[in-house]
Structures are given as structure tokens and as C-alpha cells.
Symmetry: C2
Subunit: 328 residues, 2 copies
């Protein structure tokens, strides 16, 4: 059964029945011209992120369920990166007419799974046919205290990252070789080649990233953002907004075991992947504190300039600095 | 100069300099992970609408400037349709790498023009490369009183429309024949064929619709929505939500002079265009009042059933009931 066989009215009805639940602060959800909400007190946060087929994802190795989950995660990640809590969400969904009804339902299963995880409520959006699969979402949120901006870093602050930068980019390279989605079931894993089976966690980090809650860093951080276009690219943006520079030590980067193994298999430099690989959706923040549980210090903020120091103390030259759209 | 020659960082910088202005309620706009705003008191409204190339528009007869203007209008129209005032906006913009920098600037000129007209502030969004031009926006708004829902219509209420339904659909049919955008300058109009020159207003209604302010109807209306998928389709949705039926009199439809002339040229029935043509972005509302300045009564709400009464009193059979995505 394809979407072209059902029509928009049927799909809207399905969404109303799936996402019509009551939720705190929601006065009127999916089904009218606009949603009516009563947002929580505090500073209100607004963010939109889009995912375009052929640019952000490839359906050969990404399932609609994973896409739905990831669309929510990447938007929630922006709210978390401000030190906020996500609250309401709208989704603009456009797909070719031969997208199946099952795929449509799977996509919204993934949206639903992530919505419950983050405590965010789908309140509206738009659905349309289009030439390729194009997804965007808007998430609102709030921060009880002052939001954490990119502009607050000061010389002498330490630079922290959560998780393992590079995992997502390395996971993507593996998916391109595997040429199919990671299996949903345990028993399918047993037939996989060892290099893929042992790298499941980093492939999952690419297709179903889980956004990182900022709560335990809020009291410490002076500036914060999420890493979506690569640690170097995003750190350079944070430095630009803060009017400062940075020094990063490559031997301090928290490289994962899977990243080291898989990058050897791929013939890639794991440090390059950690510095320039995109879509980590980890948090990057600065703080005057020398040690913070749950995050790794990788360098420090300086007055100006941008230095990557190798393990032997030499300055490293980056081949690619990270991802930017439209860059040739 | 193409977008692929400039890169995302340059484009973001351009947007920050264009839309970085101070505005009431805006604490932090374009440039961080999320915008920080202080929305006005009242019920908060949230809406998202998308426009996909090849489905919602054709660049052969639509300019980027018109697209930018229309994207804002269709979203503001949803806020107006709730009896609200628009406030903040996010735009998710994705385009092929060969989209030019001039086209990009023209698009945001149109966004800017409409933003000033409606008093809405662009506070964030996302830009990306993609296979085709895909645009979506989210607009927030507020209503001081109770929002006007689709569900408030009661048997005995009169059905009102603003403006001239069908103009936009007829304008689109003319644009498909003219195969180029309507001219921006007066002197270019003189060389046009008379049928196109005399229909400029309805072609403009299609490519640059102006959303209709609800202010003078708010005290009267029991239910309200905007007409985006055709009067019949949208009225049937309003009736469904209100648990009621409707009777429409075709001789009461406010057909414009241009619609009558152009539909004769096109060999189309002007009443069909007014009933089933999409993208009017006029307001459709119900009221117990028999006469309301600025809107035309076209029928009444009844207990159940859906009747279109012709000028000779016979029931009219509709060939196409309006637009729905994915409908075959």
C-alpha cells in the first residue's frame, strides 16, 4: 500500500489518532490550522533542523524508523545545547507518492519512540508529496535559568566534549560499505561480518543518535553547543561567537575502541574522524572547572588562533575541517 | 555565483546580518543552537507549512522573491485562521548547489518583505543542500482571547468567505499557459497579451498571496479556518470537526471579474474553480450574524450532509472536490 493510494486526509487522520494524546501544556494538538499550547515558564527556545534525502541520509542503509527517531534527536540536541528542556514539536514531512504506508507508519513509530524518550509532544506540522524524502522539524523548549550560549567562552576555560566524537562519521563509513541498515533483531547479527558486528554501536550512533542531556554541566559551563558538523568546525564557530581562540590536544580526544578498530579497517585516521567527522550530536562546552564528571577535557580556550597539538607536541594540519553545506 | 561556490558559513553570516535586528520579545535570534524568545501573553499558537518544488511551485513561472513572500504568507494565514497574531518564525531552506546566490538573496528579500508586512520576526532555522528546492517554515503566534477553532460551527450559522475564492487556482492555470513569471515592472506589462495583462491580479494572488487579518471577524465567528485546499475540501473539514453539515449556494459565491473572464478563456467553469481550486488563503468562517462587513455569506451550517445548490435550485455534483496530497 503506497501513500498515493491513501491520500492526505487518511494520513492526517492516522496522525491525529496517534498523536492526539493529552499532554501537560497542550491545549489543542494536531488537527486545526495551528496548535494551541501553554509553554512552561522561563526563557523560550525555538529551533528547526531539516534532513534531506541524498544529503543527510541514504535509504539504502537507513530505515524510516531510524529517520523518525533521528529527526527528533537532532532537534532536541539543539535545545539541550542551550541548557534547555524540549517541550513541543512540529514536523514537516514530504515524500514521493511511492513511499509506502508501512514506511510512513515506521517513520512515525521512530518519532513516537524518541518523543517519549525526550518528553516532547508532537502538536502539528504538515505533510505533502514531493520528489524526494524531505523532513524538517521544529522543537520548542525552555530553560529555567539563563540559556547557555556559544558566546560565553573565556581564555583559560577548559574545552569539554561528551561521548566519543568521530563515532558517527566512522559508523557512516561502515554503513556505506555494508550497504544495508543495521539489523533490528539479535539473531540477524550472528550472520554479519565481524568488523560490522563489532561496530554496531557506532553505526547505531550514526542512524539513531541519542541527544545528550546537559543537566549536570549547566552549573559549570560558560558556553555550550552540540557537535553536528564536526568538532573542529563547531568549535571554530563557538570561538568566533566568543571572540576567542582554542588549543586542542589530539591525545586527549576520547576515541572509542570501535572507532580505533573500524578506522584501521577503513584505512582512515581516527583522529581526523574525531576532529572533522559530523553528526556526533555530543555536547561541546567550556568551563573554568578542571574536572567535570561525564565529559572529557580536550583543550583550552586561548585569546586567539586555532591550534591542534599532536601527541609529540607538533602542530597538526587538518585535511578537512568539518562539514558545511554547499561547500565545494 | 552559485551557493556551492560560497558555503554554508557564508550564507549563515549573510542571514545573521540581514535578520539580526532587535525586535520586541526577541532575546537571541539567528546564530546559536536555538533562538531565545519571550512570547506575548495569551494562548500560544504553533504552525508549520512546507512548499516542495514540483508540487507547490514551478520555478518556470515563480520567482524566488515570490516564493519567500508566499512561504511567510501561508504560515501566517494559519495563525490568522485561529484569530491570532503572528510573532516569531523559523525557516528550513534546502536547495540544489546550483541555486544562485542572487536567487538565495531574492528568496530572503521576499521573506523580509512579508515579515515586515505581518510583523513577524525571523529568529532561526536551517539551511542545507538538497536535490530540489524544499522550503518549510514554522510561525508562532498568540491570541489574546480564545482561539477560533474549526469545531465551533453550529446548525443555523451562516458560512462566510473573504475575498474571491478560485482566483488563485485560475491564476495558476494562466501562469501555466504564460510559462513565465508575472513581470515586476510596469513597462514589461505593456507587451503582454491582453488576457494575461487583465488577469495580473489573480496571477499575483497565486504567487504572492496576502494572508487575511481576522480582527474584524473575531467577535462574530463561531469557527474559522483558512482556505488552502479549496473551499469544498476545507469546508468539509470544518464540518467534520464541528460534527455538522453544510449547504452552499453557488450563485452567492463572490466570483471576481477576472475569474469569470479568464475561466471563459481557459474553457473552465468559474464555479468549479471557486469551489475546488486550492491556495486561496482566504478565510472561511461561520457566524450567527446575518451580515458581516468584509466577508460574503455563501451558505449555512445544517445538521448533516453536504449540499451544493445551483442557481436553478438543483443540487450540483462536484467533479473534483479540492486538493489533497497523495490522492490519486
Amino acid at each position: 500500500m503506497k501513500l498515493a493510494d491513501k491520500g492526505e486526509n487518511y494520513l492526517l487522520k492516522r496522525l491525529r489518532s496517534r498523536f492526539g494524546r493529552k499532554s501537560p501544556g497542550l491545549i489543542l494538538g494536531v488537527g486545526d490550522d495551528a496548535a494551541v499550547v501553554a509553554p512552561s515558564a522561563g526563557h523560550m527556545l525555538l529551533t528547526s533542523d531539516l534532513m534531506a534525502e541524498g544529503v543527510h541520509f541514504d535509504l539504502r542503509w537507513t530505515t524510516p524508523y531510524q529517520l523518525g527517531f533521528k529527526l527528533v534527536s537532532v532537534n532536541v540536541s539543539d535545545i539541550y545545547a542551550m541548557g534547555g528542556k524540549p517541550e513541543f514539536m512540529l514536523i514537516a514531512f514530504s515524500a514521493p507518492g511511492d513511499f509506502t504506508l508501512d514506511e510512513f507508519e515506521d517513520f512515525f513509530d521512530g518519532v513516537s519512540k524518541a518523543s517519549v524518550l525526550y518528553g516532547v509532544t508532537l502538536v502539528g506540522g504538515d505533510i505533502s508529496s514531493s520528489g524526494s524524502l524531505n523532513l524538517s522539524a521544529t522543537v520548542t523548549g525552555y530553560s529555567e535559568g539563563k540559556p547557555l550560549l556559544r558566546s560565553g567562552a573565556r581564555p583559560g576555560d577548559f574545552i569539554y566534549v561528551t561521548g566519543h566524537p568521530g563515532d558517527s562519521a566512522c559508523g557512516l563509513e561502515l554503513l556505506k560499505k555494508m550497504k544495508r541498515p543495521i539489523p533490528d533483531r539479535k539473531r540477524e547479527v550472528s550472520g554479519m561480518r565481524p568488523i560490522f558486528r563489532d561496530s554496531l554501536r557506532i553505526m547505531r550512533r550514526h542512524v539513531m543518535p541519542v541527544a545528550v542531556k546537559p543537566d549536570r554541566f549547566i552549573g559549570h559551563a560558560t558556553a555550550m553547543m552540540d557537535i553536528s558538523d564536526g568538532l573542529m568546525m563547531d568549535l571554530s564557530r563557538l570561538c568566533l561567537q566568543s571572540g576567542a581562540g582554542a588549543r586542542i590536544y589530539t591525545d586527549k580526544l576520547p576515541l572509542s575502541k570501535e572507532l580505533i578498530t573500524a578506522s584501521a579497517y577503513l584505512g582512515k585516521d581516527p583522529v581526523d574522524l574525531a576532529l572533522a567527522g559530523g553528526e556526533d550530536y555530543e555536547l561541546l562546552f567550556t568551563s573554568a572547572s578542571k574536572k567535570i564528571a561525564g565529559a572529557t577535557p580536550v583543550g583550552e580556550i586561548i585569546r586567539s588562533g586555532f591550534h591542534i597539538i599532536d601527541k609529540d607536541g607538533a602542530e597538526r594540519i587538518m585535511r578537512g575541517k568539518g562539514y558545511q553545506h554547499f561547500a565545494s
